[in-house]
């Protein structure tokens, strides 16, 4: 790696009951770059993503060992405040999930739960977040409109704005464009490209072209193991592992 690392996982293992879902994953994720996680369904890439903001804690029988360091701090250490962690590590879900509230209230949700109630400050955060998620121009005249009234692509950008409003360093994206049409997808990809200037982005995708287009680094997962991890252009042109090559050329998966 030529750049600074933001997230380091060391021998990360995760079990769902009997199932060994992540096997000894050690991965360095660079700061202010886009890292794509690819692999066939059920390979553990989403599970890995969700272990970076401890969303797996919500699953009853998930057991994790090994370590995940973000800015050098082990997020699975006993004293860690999960709530604080999740403010720093935002997440965008596969299915856009705006709250059934107005656009404004959606974006203001995070700041409000952090105790910001000053109207002026909130207005500013909302505007800035919508600006950064490239949604402002489309919605600025009706911020009072329900978030659910937006199109699928707009909803996803609203969710990105909502995540940005709490000022995270890292954005985790779980197939953020898989339910969108090509135009909306292109907008999200453009946005990812712009966002990486200020954020460290980890994105799970099923779409090879998307991984090739948006990411700087790519990790290939297969049945819970990290098979190969390198710069994206190397993964897609000269993969070292046969399995990687087979997968990206569409021979299985």
């Amino acid at each position: 790696m030529t750049t600074e690392t933001k997230i380091v996982t060391k021998n990360l293992n995760l079990h769902y009951g009997e199932k060994h879902a992540l096997k000894n994953i050690s991965l360095d994720i660079p700061v202010n770059r886009v890292t794509a996680l690819i692999g066939p369904s059920g390979c553990g890439k989403s599970t890995f993503l969700r272990s970076l903001n401890r969303m797996n804690d919500l699953i009853d029988n998930a057991k994790i060992d090994g370590s995940v360091l973000i800015d050098g701090t082990d997020i699975y250490h006993n004293g860690i405040d999960v709530v604080e962690l999740r403010k720093k590590v935002g997440m965008i879900f596969q299915k856009s999930n705006p709250f059934p509230k107005s656009i404004y209230d959606n974006v203001a949700y995070g700041p409000r739960i952090n105790g910001i109630h000053d109207k002026k400050i909130l207005d500013e955060i909302v505007e800035q977040s919508l600006q950064r998620s490239a949604l402002l121009d489309e919605v600025k005249d009706d911020l009072k409109k329900s978030g659910l009234a937006l199109s699928g692509g707009q909803q996803q950008r609203l969710c990105i704005a909502r995540a940005l409003a709490v000022n995270p360093d890292v954005l985790l994206m779980d197939e953020p464009a898989s339910a969108l049409d090509p135009i909306a997808t292109a907008k999200i990809e453009e946005l990812i490209y712009e966002l990486k200037e200020n954020y460290t982005i980890v994105i799970v995708t099923h779409n090879m072209q998307q991984a090739a287009r948006v990411s700087d680094y790519t990790a290939f997962f297969y049945i819970g193991s990290l098979i190969e991890y390198d710069e994206t252009k190397k993964i897609f042109t000269t993969p070292k592992e046969k399995q990687t090559e087979d997968y990206i050329t569409g021979r299985f998966g």
Binding site: M55, L58, G90, N97, G110, I113, A163, V166
Partner: protein, 298 residues
């Protein structure tokens, strides 16, 4: 051909069964309206029973029923909702403790109403009420230690609690996981997520729970039999320690305890009609409220 006939028989029997239910309800409504409509008047609705219940109105029973249902809801809906929140959001589904609570809720739902009445008498009236009296006046005077509208309402609340818990819990579970995760991923605590995302999305279910509880509570008589309902009371309850009249019990009294049952028949029909209308009105207003809230949410 044979398959076709079986199909027709099936369609016919479902239609016949539906018709049976609809006509039973229709017949009941028709009978009650036919017998009671003529008796309904302003005086009937706003007057007290007179001449050994063979004349006069049912105002105290209407007000008593409404108050009973209101006090019951104030007790049952919050407690039921909080229990449902615990069961659906916090409790570990597989722990023995949770299973015990669930078993208790189900059992509570299956207990006959009259047993609730007896429990109310023993627990609320004698134990709690009697205890308060002893504490205040050193067992000289009976004030809380006798049947009243508060104990009747609380007994009724116990009966309707399982209804509230089950329907609220269902509506909490119906709140999509996506929304909860969306909130948690923004750094909201579990408590914030429940207050700001889960509950607002479960309003309709909480209201449904309240509706069902109210419907059940307005119709039951057995639980209040020993805990607060009065045979005859020309005035309205003015405090929680007063007794009260109730429509269902009033009907029972007129049809079985009156000195001249024949003379009360018209009033019985009219009382039944009012009881039906009241339940209907309560349900309808709750449904309306639900509709309004849902329209607002979208």
């Amino acid at each position: 051909m044979k398959k076709k006939i079986i199909g027709w028989i099936f369609v016919f029997s479902t239609a016949a069964a539906t018709l049976l239910i609809v006509s039973a309800i229709g017949f009941m409504l028709f009978e009650i309206i036919r017998g009671g409509w003529g008796k309904i008047s302003w005086e009937f609705l706003t007057g007290a029973p007179a001449e050994g219940m063979t004349a006069g109105g049912i105002f105290p029973a209407i007000i008593g029923t409404v108050l009973l249902v209101l006090i019951m809801s104030v007790a049952a809906v919050p407690i039921g909702t909080i229990t449902a929140i615990y069961l659906s959001e916090y409790a570990n589904r597989n722990s023995i403790f949770t299973k015990l609570i669930r078993f208790a809720v189900n059992t509570l739902a299956g207990v006959p109403a009259i047993v609730f009445g007896l429990f109310g008498l023993g627990f609320f009236v004698q134990f709690v009420g009697g205890g308060i009296d002893k504490f205040i006046s050193g067992d000289a005077q009976l004030h809380w230690g006798q049947p009243n509208i508060l104990w009747a309402s609380l007994t009724m609340a116990l009966l309707t609690l399982p209804v509230v818990i089950v329907s609220v819990e269902e509506s909490l579970r119906a709140v999509p996981r996506d929304l909860r995760e969306g909130s948690l991923a923004l750094g909201a605590t579990k408590f914030q997520t429940i207050i700001k995302v889960v509950l607002p999305n479960a309003y309709t279910g909480i209201l449904t729970g309240a509706i069902l509880a109210v419907g059940r509570g307005a119709g039951e008589v057995a639980p209040i039999l020993f805990t607060g309902v009065a045979y005859f009371l020309p005035h309205l309850p003015s405090s929680l320690s007063d007794q009260f009249m109730q429509l269902g019990y009033h009907l029972y009294v007129m049809s079985t305890q009156s000195t001249d049952v024949e003379a009360t028949i018209g009033i019985q029909y009219a009382t039944a009609l009012v009881l039906l209308a009241l339940t209907f009105l309560l349900n309808f207003s709750a449904v309306f409220l639900r509709y309004r809230l849902r329209a607002k949410a979208i």
